[in-house]
């Protein structure tokens, strides 16, 4: 029975992992290119969740349509914050950029509260379920997973086949070298920040396809910390690394719960979370390039 439970939970974990992956790629991209840890990361996920909610409840549009809308809105937000704030902080000590992104997060939360109120909301995109012998999976979760794979593949091709994408990769690997080779580094900074934010906002939509309830202005914070763990697993500067780390993290999260639940007298949920953070801690010490790094 435990085996069946484990397999069932791992299936859900894999699906969730895809969403986690996309939700972390933006963080890694921004850190890789402009060397800023976006402490307000989760709040951008929250923006995406509200995009999906509003489009579904007010306009009756499916979350699939909300995905590109969120990308465009996210990129617009990214450009706005880059040119008003981040541009001046690239050379500054990390202290200031950490604080600036944190303040951005608070600003987004409070604006969202002003517009939508502090209520927890949700929507129900009923597109059926698949019943497997081990577990039941709602189709919306499957679509979210497929969506995240498509986004990851798209990004992969963009990075390896397009001129802008390769330029961006060059900046991640060797900032000065890229500058010497005639890459317009300033523009790459702006674009990467915008794409990073766009991806993050988009992942908020995917997340609501997975968990369509509990949407509220303060929902983002808990995803920030999760994204940190995943980003470190993936090596911090690598967006693909982040995607695969997301998949792994989803599996670990659900698998570890199932195993911890077998120990009597403990609370498995917090132990799972604790495990994730200790893992992050040891990995940073032993292999800061991430699980998949060189």
């Amino acid at each position: 029975m435990i085996f069946q439970l484990l397999v069932g939970n791992l299936t859900h974990g894999l699906l969730l992992g895809g969403v986690y992956g996309v939700a972390t790629m933006g963080l890694s991209l921004i850190f890789g290119v402009i060397n800023v840890v976006n402490v307000g990361h989760g709040q951008f996920i929250m923006v995406g969740a509200f995009v999906a909610l509003t489009m579904f409840t007010a306009l009756g549009l499916s979350p699939v349509i909300a995905i590109p809308v969120a990308l465009v809105l996210g990129m617009a937000l990214g450009f706005f914050f880059f040119y008003t704030v981040m541009r001046r902080l690239i050379k500054a000590p990390e202290l200031t950029s950490l604080l600036a992104t944190f303040a951005m997060g608070i600003l987004l939360e409070e604006i969202a509260k002003l517009i939508f109120g502090a209520d927890f909301r949700g929507y129900n995109w009923a597109v059926g379920k698949i019943t497997l012998p081990i577990t039941t999976i709602p189709m919306s979760k499957v679509y979210a997973f497929v969506g995240s794979i498509v986004i990851a593949l798209f990004l992969y091709f963009w990075f390896s086949k397009t001129r802008l994408g390769t330029a961006m990769r060059a900046v991640i690997e060797d900032n000065e070298g890229a500058r010497v080779c005639g890459v317009n580094v300033g523009w790459i900074y702006a674009l990467s920040f915008a794409i990073g934010i766009g991806l993050t906002v988009m992942s908020g939509v995917l997340l609501t396809m997975f968990i369509p309830v509990g949407i509220n202005p303060y929902m983002g914070g808990r995803y920030t910390l999760k994204a940190f763990v995943i980003a470190v697993l993936g090596g911090l500067t690598s967006p693909y690394g982040a995607f695969f780390a997301g998949l792994i993290f989803g599996l670990i999260e659900n698998g570890a719960y199932t195993l911890f639940a077998q120990i009597p007298g403990v609370a498995p949920f917090p132990l799972t979370v604790s495990l994730a953070f200790w893992m992050l801690f040891f990995l940073l010490l032993v292999k800061p390039t991430g699980l998949l790094g060189k």
């Binding site: 927890f120 909301r121 129900n124 995109w125 379920k129 509990g214 303060y218 719960y257």
Partner: protein, 415 residues
């Protein structure tokens, strides 16, 4: 050092005397309720409701009731509130400000057991009456605080009625699953539910907690599904209550009865789940829109009645917040607390902190919120709960039978 300490003592004594003098002075021209409210931060939702409830009842006291009768004349109530950001540091300094600068006559606690505890030492220090409408932990009342009084009922009672109800309709449903949030309040509910279930001869097939702010309950619920429960009771707050029902539906866990605390009862719950999923979900509540407590009912059980009727309260609440929002139990308990204070002050005709606290201890009355009675430590024991169920998008009170507005749908429709 020694000398310094003495000076502090002298200073404090003078200070205290000044206060005492203040309290014994001629009848005041107004009475002020102070409140370090949670307008932002993690309890912003409950905080807004509480403010609305307090404002609505103050409005009623001043404009309908005509003010509080104290020292032979009727004086109005005032309300002074600040935002503590749902944080413990905010609570202490704001309470002191309310007591010393704003000279309030009573302090209402901030929402949650933690914040209520954070403010209690300051209230004690100034011998200030401290009324708790949002801290459900029994442990608050085991700390020896002298000026604290509770309006909200203790958490351990929440699911007792629910289990009795199911036992009444279907004694054969034996397998009970408990899955609660790991918070002060929900843990107490779980303890109470477990005890009562055993008393009724039920079998606990599953018992787990999950942390605050959980984002995915799938592994816990899969485990629960494998135990094939008949009855599921659990929850803790609004958001995890949404997640709970939603993911039970995702996993197709169909049970005979599902009752969630502090979430299913809120008016927006049905809409937040997008309809169908909430159908048949139940929740216990201190108070619900539709509960029929009335002056006649109060007379039958021999209790005094004070305050607005239910519809009047709802319209005052909407006016107070300027929003078309239905009040939930957070609003009702904060509002009832205003009425309790009014009643206690009138009973003794004084605003002296200690006397009012004593009067509250003896007070028994009924309002739109239901009965009110506290024990020696200040813990609420007079308030009883109701159980409601979502039926066709409407909230129907199904238990206790004498308060019911409809019949229980049992077993719960499939997701």
């Amino acid at each position: 050092m020694k000398k310094n300490y003495l000076r502090v003592l002298i200073f404090m004594t003078i200070f205290g005397l000044l206060f005492a003098a203040n309290a014994f002075a001629a009848p005041p021209s107004k009475l002020v309720i102070g409140h370090p409210a949670c307008l932002s931060g993690k309890y912003a939702k409950a905080g807004e409701q509480a403010i609305g409830g307090v404002k609505a009842c103050i409005d009623w006291v001043n404009n309908v009731y005509g003010g509080i009768l104290v020292g032979g004349k009727r004086v109005p109530l005032e309300y002074k509130y600040y935002d503590c950001e749902s944080k413990k540091e905010g609570v202490t300094s704001l309470i002191e400000r309310l007591i010393t600068v704003d000279k309030v006559n009573v302090v209402f606690s901030a929402y949650s057991s933690g914040l209520t505890l954070a403010g209690a030492p300051v209230a004690e220090r100034y011998s200030m009456l401290y009324m708790d409408h949002g801290g459900a932990s029994d442990r608050i009342f085991q700390q020896g605080f002298q000026y604290i009084v509770q309006t909200i009922g203790p958490g351990s009672k929440y699911h007792v009625g629910t289990l009795s109800m199911i036992d009444h309709f279907d004694p054969e449903a034996k397998k009970v699953a408990l899955a609660y949030e790991d918070s002060e309040f929900a843990r107490m509910t779980m303890g109470g539910a477990e005890k009562h279930a055993k008393k009724l001869g039920k079998k606990i097939v599953f018992k787990r907690t999950y942390p605050k702010g959980v984002t995915d309950l799938t592994p816990l619920l899969s485990d629960m599904k494998a135990r094939k429960p008949d009855i599921v009771v659990g929850g803790g707050h609004y958001e995890d209550g949404q997640l709970f029902a939603r993911q039970m539906s995702d996993l197709d866990i169909n049970v005979k009865a599902l009752s969630l605390v502090a979430s299913a009862t809120l008016p927006a719950y049905y809409k937040a789940l997008g309809g169908g999923i909430a159908e048949g979900v139940m929740g216990p509540s201190h108070w619900e829109y539709g509960v029929t407590f009335s002056p006649d009912g109060a007379m039958k059980v021999g209790l005094d009645w004070i305050g607005p009727g239910q519809d009047e309260f709802v319209s005052l609440f909407k006016k107070a917040l300027g929003k078309d929002m239905i009040p939930d139990y957070h609003a009702a308990e904060a509002g009832a607390q205003v009425l309790a204070y009014v009643k206690a002050v009138e009973n003794i005709g004084s605003v002296d902190q200690f006397k009012v606290r004593a009067a509250l201890g003896k007070l028994k009355f009924m309002s739109f919120y239901g009965g009110w009675d506290v024990d020696d430590t200040g813990m609420q024991i007079g308030h009883s709960m109701v159980d409601m169920q979502w039926q066709n998008g409407k909230r129907v009170i199904v238990w206790p039978l004498e308060a019911a507005t409809g019949n229980l749908i049992y077993p719960k429709p499939k997701f």
